[in-house]
C-alpha cells in the first residue's frame, strides 16, 4: 500500500504553486522534468515509502497557472528555496530529473543550508562542448519519434500515440511542452555560468544516468557533471534511457535508498 497523495495550491510571495505530497519522514523534494509531474508514477510511490515526497509543479506545467514573472530556471531555483523556507525543511533530499536536475543544481549552488543530499537524474543545465557542439539534441527541431528514440531505452514507452487520451490529458501535454520552451529555449537547456559554479555544491551528490540515454550520454555529459561537483558519484542504470526513474523505477529507488543510507 502506498501512502495517500495530497495536493494543494499555495501562494508564495505572490506566486501560485501546486504541490503534491506523499508519505512521511525525511523530506524528499522531487523536481520533475520536461514531461511534467506524475505523482501517480511508480517511482514516486516507492520513494514515498522512504520519506515525505514533496513534488511541486513548475509554473505553467500540468494544471499549474502560468506566472508572469516566472520565466527562467533561475526564478524556479529561488522559488523552491523559498518553498523550503516556507515548509521549514531541514536536511532535505533534493531529486531533480532532466530539467528538474538543472533546477536542483541551480538551487544547490545558491544555498545548501536546508539540504543534506542531492540526486541529479540525467540533469541538463551545463555547457560542455565548444560553441559548435550541440551538447543537447534540439528537441524543438526534431520529429517527436526521433526525440523518443534518443530519450528512451524502449521508445515504445514514450506514448506518442495520442488516441484514447482525454482532452485534458492532451492539454497537459501541450502545456508541458510550452512551459519547457519558456524555461529552456535560450540558452538551450543550460545556463552558461552554471558549470563554473558547481564547485560550490558541498553536500553528497549522486548522479544517476540511464545507460541507453542517447539524449545526453553518461560518458560525455554525465562525466562532465560529475567532474564539476566535488566528490560526486555517477551511477549508471542498465536498460534505461533519459528517464531511468520511469523505465527502471525499482532499481532507481534502490540506488537512491542506498545513497541516502550511506554517510
Amino acid at each position: 500500500m502506498s501512502p495517500p497523495i495530497q495536493s494543494r495550491r499555495l501562494t508564495l510571495h505572490d506566486v501560485q504553486l501546486d504541490v503534491y505530497e506523499q508519505g512521511q519522514g525525511r523530506p524528499i523534494f522531487v523536481l520533475h522534468g520536461e514531461d511534467g509531474p506524475y505523482p501517480q508514477a511508480p517511482f514516486s510511490a516507492l520513494l514515498a515509502n522512504q520519506g515525505r515526497v514533496i513534488l511541486p509543479t513548475h509554473p505553467g506545467f500540468g494544471h499549474a497557472p502560468d506566472m508572469a514573472d516566472i520565466d527562467t530556471v533561475d526564478d524556479l531555483a529561488y522559488l523552491y528555496l523559498d518553498l523550503l523556507d516556507e515548509y521549514d525543511l531541514r536536511d532535505a533530499v533534493v531529486i531533480g530529473c532532466s530539467l528538474g536536475g538543472w533546477i536542483a543544481a541551480e538551487m544547490a549552488v545558491k544555498s545548501t543550508a536546508r539540504l543534506s543530499r542531492l540526486v541529479l537524474v540525467a540533469p541538463l543545465g551545463i555547457k560542455v562542448g565548444d560553441r559548435e557542439t550541440r551538447d543537447i539534441p534540439d528537441i524543438f527541431a526534431l520529429p517527436p519519434e526521433e526525440v523518443a528514440r534518443l530519450q528512451y531505452h524502449d521508445p515504445a514507452q514514450a506514448a506518442l500515440d495520442y488516441t484514447g487520451l482525454s482532452d485534458d490529458e492532451l492539454l497537459v501535454i501541450a502545456r508541458n511542452r510550452e512551459a519547457t520552451a519558456l524555461y529552456a529555449w535560450e540558452p538551450y537547456f543550460h545556463n552558461p555560468k552554471l558549470r563554473q559554479r558547481l564547485h560550490r555544491i558541498a553536500i553528497p551528490t549522486l548522479l544517476i544516468w540511464g545507460a541507453s540515454d542517447r539524449f545526453v550520454t553518461p560518458g560525455y555529459y554525465g562525466a562532465a557533471y560529475r567532474d564539476a561537483i566535488p566528490g560526486a558519484q555517477l551511477a549508471v542504470i542498465d536498460r534505461a534511457g533519459h528517464w531511468p526513474h520511469v523505465e527502471q523505477p525499482e532499481v532507481f529507488v534502490e540506488r537512491v535508498g542506498a545513497f541516502l543510507a550511506s554517510t
Partner: protein, 384 residues
Amino acid sequence: MRAWHFSENAYHLLPDAKEYDSIRVTLPNRYYDPKIGADLYHRFIDEWLIAEELGLDIMVNEHHQTATNLNPGGPIVMGILARETKTARLLILGNPIANRREPVRVAEEMAMVDVYSRGRLEVGFVRGVPYEMSAGNHRPTRMMERFWEAYDLILKAWTSHDGPFNWEGKYFHHRQVNIWPRPYQEPHPPVWITALSPGSAQAVGERGTIVACFLTGFDGSKQVFDAYRTRRAELGLPPAGLDRFAYAALVYTGETDEEGYAGARKLMWYVEANKVPFQFTSPPGYHPPQAMAGAMKGPASGVFKMFQNPQLESFMEHGLVFAGNPDSVYRQIIKFYEHVGGFGHILLMGQAGFLDHQETVKGMKLFAREVYPRLKELHPAVAA
C-alpha cells in the same frame, strides 16, 4: 479600395519534394544557385516597378531560411524600391518585431526608407510565422508580450524629437534612444499589423492601426474584422474606416476564366510547396495549448485541412483565391467584400512558383486595367 502587388520572391527550382523533409528551416542552401537567384531578384524588382507603372501600390514581406521567400531582409529591398519608384506607396508587411532583437534598429531602418521615398512608406509589423522560431532561435512563448513592447518602443523612437529617452522594459533595454533620421511622415508612417485570429485582432483594434489578414477566407477574415470593430466599440473608440482593413489573397486575372484559373493554379505552388514537418509548424507556445491539444487529436479540420491538400476549386470557394476573367475576379472580390463588412486594401499575391515574368505581368495588367478601376470606386460608395 487600394490594390497592392505582392510577391514572395520564391526560389522555385527545387528537387522533388520527396528528396527533402522541409522546404523551411533545414533545406540545405546548396540547392540555391546565386546566379539564378540574382536573375530572380532583378526580375521581381522589375515586376514591382511595372506594378507602379500600372497604378498599383507595392508590398514586400520577409521570411527566413526558406525557399518560399528569398527576402530575409525586407528593409533592404524596400531601400531599393524607395529609390527606384516615384509614386507608389511602399508597404513592408512586415517587420517580424517579436523576433528582431533590436526594435530601435527597426525604427531606424524604417525611418531611412521613409525619408528615401519622401514619405511613401507604410510599415507593417508581424509576429513571424511558426517556422521562423527555429530559424532565428526565437522563443515561441510569450511572443505577443515581446511584440507589443517592441511596437511601443518603435513608435516612441519615431515620435520623440527632443533628445534621448530611456527604455528599460521586460525585453528591451536602452538608455539613449534618439534615432537619426526621423521619419519623413508626421507623426510617423501608417502602421499595419497582421492578425489571423479574433484574439489578436482585438489587440490591433485597440490601437487602431490597419489590420491585415492573409488567406483567412470568408469566415476567418470576417471574424478578424468583426473582432477589431467590436473591440473598438467596447472601448468607446471611434469606429474604424474601411481603410483600416486589408485582405491578402492569391489573385490571377486572365482574358478568360480558363486563363485566370491556369494562372491561379501556378500561384497555388505557394501552398503546395509548403512542405513543413510538425516540429516546425507547431513550436511549443506559438499556438495556444488548447489549439495544440486539438491538433494532437488528429487531422486538422476546416480551412486548415484545405492547406493539406490544396485544390484551386476549394481555395476559390473559400475566398483564398480570386481568379478568372476580369468580371469574374471583380465579382469574387465584391462577394468577399460584402461578406466581411468591407475592406479598404487588397493585397494581391500575383507571383509564385512557376508563373513566369510574362504571365505575371499579364495578370497584373488585366487586373490593373479591367478590375481595379471598378474597385477604386467601391470605397467611397460604401463609406457614404
